[in-house]
């Protein structure tokens, strides 16, 4: 008899309780704050030192100092966070949101915007803007300045532009 009661209790509980699972994708998954989804870069603070590239265990990051680009193959990245730990300027961060699947691997490239050095400012005031980063044409220069003005756009836009190049 006690066994039957226990059984009846379980049945009633299961009939009238909410499901344990969520109805994904109708109800989107909320990731906790610390979730290691993907690596993001605040390119404006990057000094192109290449520490992340050298420390990355699967070798997913590539930093090209002469081209002023930072690129990551998100399909190789294992989200270990070692680059974030190693970054001397703390411009890398690991944020929630996983890489979505794709039919072919691609590389995300972020170009560091070239900040034009104001003539009045002291040379030490803008160490990030190196003389080597002089723009090839006046057109590119103005574009870069515009990008520097809105860093959020600068992060995504060149990435989209550079992706087909990397695929080539």
């Amino acid at each position: 008899m006690p066994q039957f009661l226990g059984f009846a209790k379980t049945v009633m509980k299961n009939l009238f309780s909410k499901p344990v699972t969520t109805s994904y994708p109708a109800e989107p998954k909320v990731y906790p704050e610390r979730s290691r989804g993907h690596v993001e870069i605040n390119i404006a603070d990057c000094i192109m030192c290449g520490m992340c590239m050298r420390s990355c265990p699967p070798g997913a990051i590539e930093v090209k100092r002469n081209e002023n680009t930072w690129s990551i193959n998100r399909f190789d990245c294992v989200q270990c966070g070692y680059c974030v730990e190693k970054c001397p300027k703390k411009c890398l961060s690991i944020v929630p949101g996983y890489q979505t699947p794709d039919s072919k691997k691609y590389v995300d490239t972020v170009t560091k915007p070239v900040v034009e050095q104001p003539a009045a400012a002291k040379p030490a005031a803008a160490p990030a803007a190196k003389p080597a980063a002089t723009a090839k044409s006046a057109d590119a220069e103005t574009k870069a300045v515009a990008e520097a003005a809105k860093p959020v756009a600068a992060e995504t836009k060149p990435a989209a532009e550079a992706a087909p190049k990397a695929a080539e």
Binding site: R34, S35, R36, Q79, C80, Y82
Partner: protein, 359 residues
């Protein structure tokens, strides 16, 4: 003499999550001898020490196993810390202990589910994994990963758990303990479960020693062996008794693991109560030179790490002896004389982790 035949078992089999092959020498339905062979998922992680520097190896060792990944990272880090003579802050050791015990909880719940599935009790399998899900969520909240945690580093841990997070975890575990009592009661009392487990796969005390079994396998044969009692990490501050059973059968192994689930919850509670407020890591300079070994208790048993360093950034040698590797001889012992239908169940009672074994 009846005719003998050899039945190949695995590497692909519904009960096996990972590939291991057994040649079963059969006499009718009875297994006379079982010869295990491995080598289907060898990844050469030990030889990666020549290509990845000793800091990057932390992330490689974590990937030896998907279930005890935290403890692999912890074992490797403590071996290198021993070589470099690094004193890890006490808080980091407590955090490692808490995460290690959470890993044990999640591993044992996974095992209970797999065991239930092996003897065909689907509902019990679902219940065990439902409870396990909460532990994975706790891992995600505290470390950012559900399976691979990447919180260990040489010299401490990378992430701290604030006091409110720790207390919320304890309250989740308190609630979970009630559910766990209900679920584990079925394993302990149910007639159908007992009919599959009691008296099946006897590993006597003598055999357990002779075959060098480790972990719950050893403890279920009545031998008090638990590396946590050696007092690594924060275990020397915590109060616990080694859980053993004298029955030596599959049911005893189930009993020991269920006992350890509640023990882990208790250890987490104790650790949260005692955790000191210090730094979580110390800076580590230079390269390791020398050799060290550590022994520590994983959910499946004792694991052994040996590291030899030559003063450069690449290690000379790293050797991992995982618990399943040590339990395979015991497996071939318990399979001798069993019924063919019990083979999948007996393989599960050693809690096999083949990826660990092959590295």
């Amino acid at each position: 003499m009846p005719k003998r035949s050899i039945v190949p078992f695995g590497p692909q089999h519904p009960v096996l999550p990972e590939p291991v092959h057994l040649d079963l020498v059969m006499e009718d339905e009875k297994v006379i001898e079982a010869i295990p062979s491995i080598g289907y998922v060898h990844r050469g992680l030990e030889s990666l020490v020549q290509k990845k520097d000793f800091n990057e190896m932390v992330y490689v060792t974590e990937r030896i196993c998907g279930i005890c990944s935290f403890m692999h990272g912890m074992g490797y880090c403590s071996a290198v810390e021993q070589i470099m003579d690094v004193q890890v802050p006490r808080r980091a050791e407590y955090l490692r202990t808490i995460w290690a015990e959470m890993s044990r909880l999640h591993s044992h719940l996974l095992w209970l589910g797999l065991l239930a599935d092996a003897f065909g009790f689907e509902a019990l399998f679902m219940q065990s994994w439902r409870l396990r899900e909460k532990i994975l969520d706790m891992f995600e909240i505290s470390t950012g990963g559900r399976v691979i945690f990447s919180v260990n580093k040489i010299g401490g841990v990378l992430k701290d758990m604030p006091a409110d997070m720790l207390s919320s975890f304890v309250s989740i575990l308190n609630d979970m303990e009630r559910d766990l009592r209900e679920t584990t009661q079925i394993f302990m009392d149910d007639y159908t479960v007992k009919s599959r487990l009691v008296g099946v796969g006897i590993l006597t005390e003598e055999d357990a020693i002779r075959r060098g079994a480790v972990g719950p396998m050893m403890r279920a044969s009545g031998i008090e062996v638990d590396m946590r009692k050696t007092g690594y990490a924060a275990y020397n501050d915590l109060d616990f008794q080694i859980i053993t059973s004298k029955d030596c059968d599959s049911f005893a192994r189930c009993q020991v693991r269920i006992g350890e689930i509640f023990q882990s919850i208790e250890l987490i509670r104790q650790a949260v109560a005692k955790i000191p407020d210090t730094e979580i890591s110390v800076p580590v300079k230079g390269f390791p030179k020398g050799e060290a070994y550590v022994r520590f208790e994983q959910p499946r048993g004792e694991a052994f790490y040996y590291v030899r360093a030559n003063g450069s950034k690449f290690l000379d040698r790293m050797r991992v002896r995982t618990p399943t590797f040590a339990n395979l001889p015991a497996l071939s012992q318990i399979l001798q004389g069993c019924q063919y239908g019990d083979v999948p169940l007996l393989i599960l009672t050693i809690d096999p982790c083949i990826s660990c074994t092959e590295r």
